[in-house]
Amino acid sequence: MAEGLRLEEVSVALEGRVLVALDAQVAPGEVLTVMGPSGSGKSTLLAYLVGTLAPAFAARGRVILGGRDVTGLPTEARGIGILFQDDLLFPHLSVAGNLGFGLPRAPRAERRRAIAAALAEVGLEGMGGRDPDTLSGGQRARVALMRTLLARPDALLLDEPFSRLDAERRAATRSVVFATVRDRGLPVVMVTHDPEDAEAAGGCVVTV
C-alpha cells in the first residue's frame, strides 16, 4: 500500500461549491486518467496535487506519495513532476541548460554525461547547445519530458500534454512519454479531454 500515489478523499471547493472530489490509488507505472469538459476542475486538481492552488480554493484530503504525506509541503519538496500542454522550456537557457536545471547537484562531468544520455534516450543526440526556440514542437515536448525526469520525481502529472501537437507528432510523443514513465515505474495522473489519450494510457479513467 505504501507504493505509488494515493489521493485520500481529496476534494477542492471554490466558494462552497465542490469542483472536484476524488479518492484513488495510482500504482507505480500506472496512469490514472481524469477526463471531463473544460472548466470541470481538472486543472484545479493538478494544481492541488502539485501545491500551487490559489488561496481562494478550499481543499480537503491528503496526498500520500510512496508512503510520505506530501499534502502540506511546498511544490519543490513534493517530488511531483508536471508537464503542461505547452512545453514551457525556459527560453533564456539552451536545451542542455534546461535539462541541467532539472538535474540535482552533481560534479560537472557527471552532469554532462547525464544530459547527453537524456538527449540520446529521446533521439536528440548533440542538440544540447541549441536554442529551444529552434526545435520542432515534438522535439521540445521530448526535452520537457526529460527535464522533468532528470529531477527524479516520484510521481508525474500530465496536464493535457499532447493537445498542442499536430496529429502525427501526437501519437509518437504519446508513446515516448508513456513508455518512458512505465520504464521508470512512475505513478502518473493525466488530465485530458482527448479519449485517444485515455486509450493509449491504458489505466483507470475517472470522469469529473
Binding site: 502539485v50 501545491g51 500551487t52 490559489a54 488561496p55 511546498p74 511544490t75 519543490e76 513534493r78 511531483i80 513532476g81 508536471i82 503542461f84 505547452d86 514551457l88 522550456l89 525556459f90 527560453p91 533564456h92 536545471f101 532539472g102 540535482p104 536554442d131 529551444p132 526556440d133 529552434t134 527535464r147 522533468t148 529531477a151 520525481p153
Partner: protein
C-alpha cells in the same frame, strides 16, 4: 522578510510626503523653532493673503494647469481616435515615444529657442516680415502663461499617449468602432461616442497626475513662464531661497495654499467629468452620425505632429547652439561650428553628470529592489494587489511638489538631519518608485506563472525560481523599468534643489540655473547633456538583452 516589503515600499513612497506636509503645516502656522519662530500664529497666512501677487499667481497656476491638461488630453484623444491602427499613427507613435523620457527642462529650453522673438521660427519669418531685429513681443514668459502651457503640452502629450495606448486594448476599440461604423457613424464620431468613455475611465489617474503636475511645475515655469508675478509654485521656491528665514513661513503658507488649489482643481475636474459624461450621453444617444469628422481627424494629426516636432526640433536647435560659432540674427544657421562651448563646460558637465548618475543609480536600484520585492510577495501570496494600492501608487504623483518639498526641507532642518545626497535620493525615490512600479507591474504580472510551477516541480525553491528563471526571462522589462527610473530621476529639479540645499548639483539644476542668464551656448550644452543622460539608459535597456540573448529567439517577442 519579503512579506514586509510592501509596507516598506509604502513608507519610502509616502513617508517623505507625509513628513513634508507636516513640515509645511507647522511653519505655515508660524511655528519653526529651528529658525527661531515660535507659534502658533496666523502671521504667515496673513502675509500670504496680503501679498499683492497672490490672486494673479494662483490664477496662473490654475489656468496654465487646467489649460495644459485639457489641451494634452484633447490632442491625445483626437490623435488616437482619428488615427490609431493606421500607418500615420504608427509613425506618430514612434516619434512621440522617445520624447517621454526627454527631461521637462530640456524640452522647455528647446521650445524657448524655437518660439522666442529671436528664436528659430522668427528667423524663418524674418525675411518675409522684414524683421531686421527681433520683434519686440513677449513670447516666452507671456503674462498669460501661454508659452508655459505649450511647453507642458509638448511634454504631457507623449505621456498621456503612452498611457492611452497601454489602456486601449482593454476597451476593445475595434469591435465598438466596427459596430458604430456599420450603423453609419463616421470614424471620429463613432470613436468618441463608443471608445472614448471607456478609455477615459482607464486613464483617469494619469490625467489627474498631468493636472496636478502642470499646476505646480517649477522648472518649466522658470524657463517659459511669466515673471511678474510668476506662478505660485515659482514664487514659493523664491521665498524658500530667500536668506531671510522668516520668508520660509510665507513659503510654507504658500505650499499649503498650493495644495488646496490643486485639491480644488482636482475636485472641480472630477465634477466636470460628471457634467461632460451627462452631456456626452445625451450626444451619443442623439443619433448624430457625423460631427466634422474630417476636420477633427486632420486636427488630431497636425496637433500631434506639432507637439512632437516642437520637442524634436527644439532639441536640434539646442544641439546647434551648443556647437555654434558666431550666430547672429536673423541667420538660420551659425557661421561656423565649433567645439569651444563643450570644451569650456566639459568640467562642469562631467561633475554634473557624476552627481546626476550617482543619485539616479541609487534611487533606481532601491526602487527596483522594492518593486520586485512587492511583486514577488504578491506572486507568492497568490493574491493580487487591490484597487486601493493603485491609488496609493499614484498618490505621490498627485501631490504638488511645491506642497511637500519645502516642508520636507524644513522638517529635515528641524530634525537636525544633514541635507545632502542621502535625503536627495530619498526625495527622488518618492517619484522614481511609482514610475518604476507602473512600468514593471504589467509585464511582471503577465509572465506565465506555469514557468514557476515547472521550476518548483523540478525542485527549485522560490529564490532560485526568481533569480534563475523569472528575472532572466524578464530582463528586458526590468531594464526598461530601470531606464524609466533613471530618466525620472535625471529630470527632477525641485527635489534636488530644495533637499540638496545647493550641495547636490545635477545636470538639471545646473541647466535650469542658466535660464535667467541667457547664455544660449551654455544652455545648449547642459540641456543636451541632460537629455543624453535620460535617453542613454533606454538605449542600454534595448541593447543589453539583445546582446545577452542574441541566440535565444524565444525572448525576442
Amino acid at each position: 522578510m519579503i512579506r514586509a516589503l510592501p509596507a516598506l515600499t509604502l513608507c519610502a513612497m509616502l513617508g517623505p510626503v507625509a513628513a513634508g506636509l507636516w513640515g509645511a503645516v507647522l511653519p505655515a502656522l508660524g511655528h519653526l523653532p529651528a529658525a527661531g519662530f515660535e507659534g502658533p500664529s496666523g502671521a504667515a497666512i496673513g502675509r500670504l493673503a496680503a501679498w499683492p501677487g497672490l490672486f494673479e499667481a494662483s490664477r496662473l497656476s490654475v489656468t496654465t494647469g487646467v489649460g495644459a491638461t485639457l489641451a494634452s488630453l484633447g490632442i491625445v484623444a483626437l490623435a488616437v481616435g482619428g488615427w490609431s491602427g493606421t500607418r500615420a499613427f504608427a509613425w506618430l507613435q514612434r516619434l512621440l515615444s522617445p520624447l517621454l523620457s526627454v527631461p521637462h527642462a530640456a524640452a522647455a529650453f528647446g521650445l524657448a529657442f524655437l518660439i522666442a522673438p529671436s528664436g528659430w521660427l522668427a528667423r524663418i519669418a524674418a525675411p518675409l516680415a522684414g524683421w531686421e531685429r527681433p520683434p519686440d513681443v513677449l513670447v516666452v514668459g507671456d503674462p498669460w502663461g501661454l508659452a508655459l502651457m505649450a511647453g507642458m503640452v509638448a511634454k504631457e502629450v507623449p505621456f498621456l499617449l503612452l498611457m492611452a495606448l497601454a489602456a486601449l486594448p482593454q476597451t476593445r476599440p475595434r469591435r465598438s468602432l466596427l459596430v458604430a461604423r456599420s450603423l453609419g457613424y463616421g470614424r471620429m464620431t463613432g470613436w468618441f461616442k463608443t471608445v472614448f468613455p471607456a478609455l477615459y475611465a482607464q486613464i483617469r489617474l494619469p490625467v489627474y497626475v498631468v493636472l496636478a503636475y502642470s499646476m505646480s511645475v517649477v522648472d518649466v515655469a522658470l524657463i517659459l513662464g511669466p515673471t511678474t508675478p510668476p506662478t505660485l509654485s515659482v514664487q514659493i521656491v523664491r521665498w524658500m531661497g530667500d536668506p531671510d528665514l522668516s520668508q520660509r513661513l510665507l513659503a510654507s503658507a504658500g505650499a499649503i495654499w498650493q495644495l488646496l488649489l490643486v485639491g480644488m482643481a482636482l475636485a472641480l475636474w472630477r465634477a466636470g467629468e460628471g457634467a461632460v459624461a451627462r452631456a456626452g450621453r445625451a450626444w451619443a444617444e442623439g443619433g448624430g452620425r457625423r460631427a466634422a469628422d474630417a476636420a477633427l481627424r486632420g486636427a488630431g494629426l497636425v496637433l500631434g505632429t506639432v507637439a512632437a516636432a516642437s520637442v524634436t526640433v527644439g532639441l536640434a536647435i539646442l544641439a546647434l547652439w551648443s556647437v555654434a560659432g558666431l550666430w547672429s540674427y536673423p541667420d538660420l544657421w551659425p557661421e561656423g561650428l565649433t567645439g569651444r562651448s563643450w570644451a569650456r563646460h566639459a568640467d562642469g558637465v562631467a561633475a554634473g553628470a557624476r552627481q546626476t548618475f550617482l543619485v539616479a543609480a541609487i534611487a533606481t536600484a532601491i526602487a527596483l529592489a522594492l518593486t520586485i520585492g512587492c511583486l514577488e510577495a504578491e506572486h507568492r501570496r497568490g493574491r493580487a494587489m487591490g484597487a486601493g494600492a493603485a491609488w496609493l501608487l499614484y498618490l505621490p504623483l498627485l501631490m504638488p511638489q511645491t506642497a511637500f518639498l519645502p516642508g520636507l526641507q524644513s522638517f529635515l532642518l528641524s530634525a537636525g538631519a544633514d541635507i545632502g545626497l542621502g535625503p536627495v535620493v530619498a526625495a527622488h525615490l518618492v517619484f522614481v518608485l511609482p514610475y518604476v512600479f507602473l512600468s514593471l507591474g504589467d509585464p511582471w504580472r503577465a509572465w506565465d506563472a506555469r514557468y514557476a510551477t515547472v521550476a518548483a516541480a523540478l525542485g527549485a525553491g522560490p529564490g532560485r525560481t526568481l533569480w534563475a528563471v523569472r528575472l532572466p526571462m524578464l530582463m528586458g522589462p526590468v531594464l526598461t523599468a530601470a531606464a524609466v527610473g533613471v530618466a525620472v530621476s535625471v529630470g527632477q529639479y525641485l527635489p534636488t534643489l530644495l533637499i540638496g540645499g545647493g550641495r547636490v548639483a545635477t545636470l538639471t539644476t545646473e541647466a535650469v540655473a542658466l535660464a535667467s542668464g541667457g547664455d544660449r551656448r551654455a544652455i545648449g550644452v547642459y540641456a543636451l547633456a541632460q537629455t543624453a543622460a535620460a535617453l542613454l539608459p533606454f538605449a542600454l535597456a534595448l541593447l543589453v538583452p539583445a546582446i545577452a540573448f542574441r541566440n535565444r529567439r524565444g525572448l525576442h517577442g
